[in-house]
Subunit: 497 residues, 2 copies
Amino acid sequence: MTEPEPPAVAKLSLAETATEPVKGKKEQEINPWDVQAATDEQGNVLEFDYHAISQKWATKLIDDELLARFERVTGHKPHRWLRRRLFFSHRDLEQILDTYEKEGTFLLYTGRGPSSDSMHIGHTIPFEFTKWLQDVFDVPLVIMLTDDEKFLFKKGLTLKQVRAFARQNARDIIAIGFDPKKTFIYIDSDFFYDGYGKHFMHNVREFEHLITNNQVRGAFGFDGSTNVGSNSFPAVQCVAAFASSYPFIFGLDHKAEDRYAKLAAIPCLIPCAIDQDPYFRILRENCSRMPLPSPKPALIHSKFLTALQGAGGKMSASDPNSAIYMSDTPNQIKKKINSHAFSGGQETKELHEELGGNPDIDVPYQYIAYFEDDDERLVQLAEGYRKGTVLTGEMKKQCVEMMQAYVKRFQEARAKVTDEIYEEFLRPRKLEWAGNPKVERKEVTEPAKEGAAEGAKMGEDGKPLTKNQLKKLLKEQETERKKQEKAAAKAAKEAAQ
Amino acid sequence: MTEPEPPAVAKLSLAETATEPVKGKKEQEINPWDVQAATDEQGNVLEFDYHAISQKWATKLIDDELLARFERVTGHKPHRWLRRRLFFSHRDLEQILDTYEKEGTFLLYTGRGPSSDSMHIGHTIPFEFTKWLQDVFDVPLVIMLTDDEKFLFKKGLTLKQVRAFARQNARDIIAIGFDPKKTFIYIDSDFFYDGYGKHFMHNVREFEHLITNNQVRGAFGFDGSTNVGSNSFPAVQCVAAFASSYPFIFGLDHKAEDRYAKLAAIPCLIPCAIDQDPYFRILRENCSRMPLPSPKPALIHSKFLTALQGAGGKMSASDPNSAIYMSDTPNQIKKKINSHAFSGGQETKELHEELGGNPDIDVPYQYIAYFEDDDERLVQLAEGYRKGTVLTGEMKKQCVEMMQAYVKRFQEARAKVTDEIYEEFLRPRKLEWAGNPKVERKEVTEPAKEGAAEGAKMGEDGKPLTKNQLKKLLKEQETERKKQEKAAAKAAKEAAQ
């Protein structure tokens, strides 16, 4: 058992270091536009309760059994962020593994709301994980930059500003190292209207038609003062999970009058932070009701990356001292970690050697845990800290070096992102991927006949399913999953009592 | 005084002929998606009260003085539909005449929601009027086919169906005889996403950002069960009035990062039925709040075309016997008018000769009044009917011949709408127009400098207004107009008491 404990977030009061002190007991608030940790009676910020949010939203926790199956199916050891449960929860990841075993391919989809022109490690880590998923599965990936969302939801930003942010963010994302042959990155306010977005936007219209003001009010807390653009935005983020929104990726005509039923039937996996789940619950509830029905997308949820200030914090682009930025100099990194990183060590060297430190609340240790792949080394580091043989200064030094190296690698890669490379990633085009090497590749190159739903799904007789058969199948799957979700929620509730 | 009375709608009960009898007293209901005449205590359908709706919505009634000025400014005798007040109400038509005198040009904008694949005379008459306005003013015209609206608001229609309707309707509209050099027709679900719609859609996002769920609830009665697409649709119909949505019309780059402030400053005139006014009130209230502000668009409102069944009816595509269709054969027209047109004549020839008929409620007479341009002839016809010298059969015969001739001319024109002509009208392109021959033409061909608002409006010193000056001017205009609207509403209220 060399697996270290997941890096827990601090259990101590952070009222001194919190940038916006709050008073009085408050529940944690997690939604796509606002993430606030709970506070106790004294106004002290508490750690996020991820098990509670998983239970509340009826997601499944990622367990060793699932990861063992993941390794069997993919032939890859699960990433340290899965092993250490930074990605801690999921929906229907088993079904994606089923699909991958049988069909050999699916669509990967993730995104980012460009709220500033520089990204920090809290932004890059989810993309690093997505890149790893792409490498492991060898499937097509779409990355959506929702500048429209940021414009609609955030006060004081112009459309021109968020569009500029999106372009800078796209270059940062490219620097992560995605394969241009199998990755399409798009900026909403360009892609939708540049001549390739018709099928996407027709999906939006149909999805908007399915969901009511009451539904988005229930899911997101929208009210009378919400602007009508924000109110309908969820449809945009939802249909991005439909492969039928990107016919060109599959070599199909994006100007065709009809969207492609066989693309709509392609399953999707979405890695995202847990706060984005409400979007995809709406999607999962309604995707089988689309004129061309789609299966429920699967999700892998991450926790929030710990802020330099420690527990209950989320790295924030509006607080430069809350995070290591990908544009930081080596000196800035050193200064931030030495001055702002919450320490689990003792006040003096003597006390530390006597009592030992607490790695569970030590931010430098946690940052090391994000990047150190060697489980054994990490256990030793934590044990040394607890015993007092590893000093606070040594822990910080290791963290500084690791972060400096990570940011340096990133900046070197970023400098190599030329205009040509940028344009290639953002150009709507046919992607190339191999998928599961054990499954014979089926090309999706024939346009569907008008009105016919030629699902990629095959019936037991090996023939493509008819539209009605596909609908029936999706309905059965939905019933089954609802049953499973209810059972899981019940079990979780009972376990918590 | 040869001017005949405006064709009044019937004052008699129509309970026998109404297709959907209703019981109990009910106020008239007029909004963009539902038009219902009032009913009395017995459930009898009453005529529409256009003065009441004008007063309620604080529009101005078109009067002889305004029409006299119209004639002075344009050099054209007002169209019979203005003289006879089929177009009865307006907002800021004076300002458009001011603009035309000073600047020489403005944008004409109208549209249609394609709810079926065939149009009737209730649809073609507003387009005939718009064509007349285009001929008189010689200005660019955009015609919007809101297939997205019909899909979102009408139950049971697929996006594919409304798109097909829109294409058929576009051909019908072309057959009216618009000048392809100065007319751009577009289908929302094509134009927005075919590569030319970026500036339009960026205007949509900004407008969506300005208006809240409460505002659209107040204006349109939307509620929790409204789908989110319908809820945000008003933004689409509104920004269609901004010339900055169509840079190509003015020879400017539609792929430019920035929209053009000088296009945003171009005034717009919208001829439409009175039920569309709520859309444009929202627009008028918010257009000066756009990042690139636009002046309030002017409106000319029409009454509803009288259904064959008479008063309180609106021709309906879902009731084939309520209207003369542009696809009807001469025999169908004859049969519809002879069998379904509400008559103001007496039961027998003898009674008619003795008592005379009532042209005010006689649908054949009213249809003749739509098309007979000779005021004198029309007065004689009405007088003859009242005296009993013109019989019901004669009135119907004249109506049948007139309608047959109109529909025949239309069908001949429609047959000549080739695919090439259709595609030319729908192709985003630079339009050509001359505007007011008395005003030297200013070409709008230079792109605005980034961030600068080079309004088409000029200051008193002849120099273009700065962005702040333009904002100030628009604000002053808005204050002045609000004052005028309030005064008009008050005067109308007092007059009604």
